[in-house]
């Protein structure tokens, strides 16, 4: 059972989308912790 080009495209696009969001979430969390004095 061979995967189609659309399967490959969809899989990589979803992975890219989640990876794109993650650094911004980390930066928002960092700002929130920093404001509350809870970085460490």
């Amino acid at each position: 059972m061979t995967v189609s080009v659309s399967f490959l495209t969809t899989m990589v696009t979803i992975a890219l989308a989640v990876t794109l969001v993650s650094p911004f979430v980390l930066l928002i969390l960092w700002l929130r912790d920093w404001r509350k004095g809870k970085l460490w």
């Binding site: 899989m11 990589v12 979803i14 930066l27 809870k38 970085l39 460490w40």
Partner: protein, 476 residues
């Protein structure tokens, strides 16, 4: 094709990048570590790490050079399942989330995973566990050191031994200076560098080759990579899942963070890190599928990622790969150095050699243990004995045998020490038998299965009560 001939970066440019990041990491290590006077501050970053730094350090540590270099390797060898199987490594992070919360609640003054095994199952089980954990820790350290040398050699042509030595020395230096605080602080910056770096690389690869051309070339030259029914790859998927769970459940890298995170942070940090980590092997790995379209002759599978990036993107791509993999390497090497040194310090030095050592003595010894570990790893990396993936797969049998003794030991009052010991010993032995007789892709699977059967059967046949309060040993 000789790896040196394939180098795309001028060696002087490679040294320049290495020097710039090395100065930054070492300065940050010194800056964050300068106020860590107490043992708790140095070893566990004061036990008050927040959610942002907690999530980033879990992500960065699990995004090793083995992810950024072995994910393309696995995509090149096993295709779609290679990438997806590697992604399932995130299940370990997600499943560890509730464990981290329980570990923090049961052992508020704990230091290492060895502490738990000693208090839960006794000294014999503790020594068996230490042998497994230290063997694995050293194996991982060697694979990271080797990855550093291979990366620098592939991208700049700088001698493997020289590059490996420099990367190890830099990580040892800033870990010695700053302890876990330096490790976690640099991990945050390294996570951002890795994420933005692999995103740019993936985007440029899609732009240069495109999915259709990539798919067409792979279908013609390596059709098995697109086959969803590739048996070895399906076995690898489950094997890798269990390998990841075993690694995270037992390793002090993850336990030390559970102890270091502020109350209420562990669960959220590990869960978020697991979700965000899951797509990374796909993003980092799929560029290897461009190799057939580009007509690349790949001399060693573990060099496919850097070679594709350098071929596609020229000097800019090579610089980006260099920065991404150097960040991934450093973020894991420093974590492993810190956590393994904690294990050696607390469980070997204090546990076996100097039970009455004062916190001041331990604080001093901690630095020497990090240096010693660095030297041992350097000596073992020199001969470049095996490939990155082969080394990791070999250790799978060891770590998977610890999944059940740890999970059952944390939640199941009646799990007995003899069963836990037998599970670790027989799980490892039979898993290794499967590794040699069947293949690397079943070692962790068999080991975890044997370990599970022994823990369940021994608990059912000889249940033993355990007082959870006895895990709350007074801290150092």
């Amino acid at each position: 094709m000789n790896p040196v001939n394939s180098a795309i970066l001028d060696p002087s440019l490679g040294w320049g990048i290495l020097a710039a990041f090395s100065v930054l990491w070492v300065w940050l290590g010194w800056f964050w570590g300068r106020r860590a006077k107490e043992l708790d501050d140095y070893v566990l970053a004061g036990r008050r790490v927040g959610l942002a730094l907690g999530t980033a350090t879990a992500m960065a540590t699990w995004v090793t050079s083995n992810t950024t270099m072995a994910a393309p390797q696995l995509a090149y060898q096993m295709g779609i399942w290679g990438m997806l199987g590697y992604s399932l490594g995130s299940v370990g992070l997600i499943l560890f989330a509730p464990l981290a919360r329980r570990i923090r609640a049961l052992m508020p003054g704990g230091f290492t995973s060895g502490d738990f095994i000693r208090l839960r199952y006794g000294k014999t089980a503790w020594r068996i566990f230490l042998a497994i954990s230290l063997f694995y820790g050293l194996g991982w350290l060697i694979s990271l050191g080797m990855a550093g040398g291979i990366l620098i050699n592939a991208l700049t042509g700088i001698d493997y031994r020289l590059g490996m030595s420099v990367i190890l020395a830099i990580c040892v230096l800033y870990t010695v200076l700053g302890g876990l605080r330096a490790v976690i602080g640099t991990d945050f910056i390294q996570t951002l560098l890795i994420l933005f770096g692999i995103l740019i690389l993936a985007w440029l690869a899609i732009d240069a080759v495109g999915f259709e051309r990539m798919h067409e070339a792979v279908s013609e030259e390596r059709p098995e990579l697109l086959n969803l029914l590739m048996p070895a790859a399906i076995m690898f998927l489950f094997n890798n899942l269990l390998f990841g769970v075993g690694e995270i459940f037992h390793s002090n890298v993850w336990w030390s963070r559970a102890f270091a995170f502020d109350k209420g942070v562990g669960f959220k940090a590990y869960l978020t890190a697991g979700i965000f980590w899951m797509p990374i092997p796909v993003v980092a790995g799929f560029i290897a599928l461009a190799a057939p379209a580009l007509g690349l002759n790949v001399p060693a599978a573990d060099m496919v990622g850097p070679l594709v990036a350098a071929n596609l993107l020229g000097v800019g791509g090579a610089i980006l790969v260099f920065i991404v993999v150097f960040s991934a390497l450093a973020s894991s090497l420093d974590s492993l150095l810190a956590a393994t040194s904690d294990l050696v310090l607390q469980d070997i030095y204090r546990g076996h050699l100097r039970p009455r050592a004062s916190p001041e003595e331990l604080r001093r010894a901690a630095r020497w243990v990090v240096v010693g570990l660095g030297v041992v790893a350097w000596l073992l990396c020199l001969p470049r004995l095996t490939t990155l993936a082969a080394l990791l797969h070999f250790t799978g049998a060891f770590v998977a045998s610890t999944i059940w003794p740890i999970a059952a030991g944390l939640y199941w009052r009646r799990t007995n020490p003899t069963g836990a010991m037998a599970a670790m010993v027989l799980g490892t032995a039979i898993g290794l038998g499967a590794y040699f007789l069947i293949g690397f892709y079943v070692a962790a699977l068999v080991s975890a299965l044997v370990s599970m059967c022994i823990v369940l059967a021994s608990t059912w046949l000889a249940p033993r009560d355990f007082d959870w309060a006895s895990l709350n040993e007074r801290g150092l």
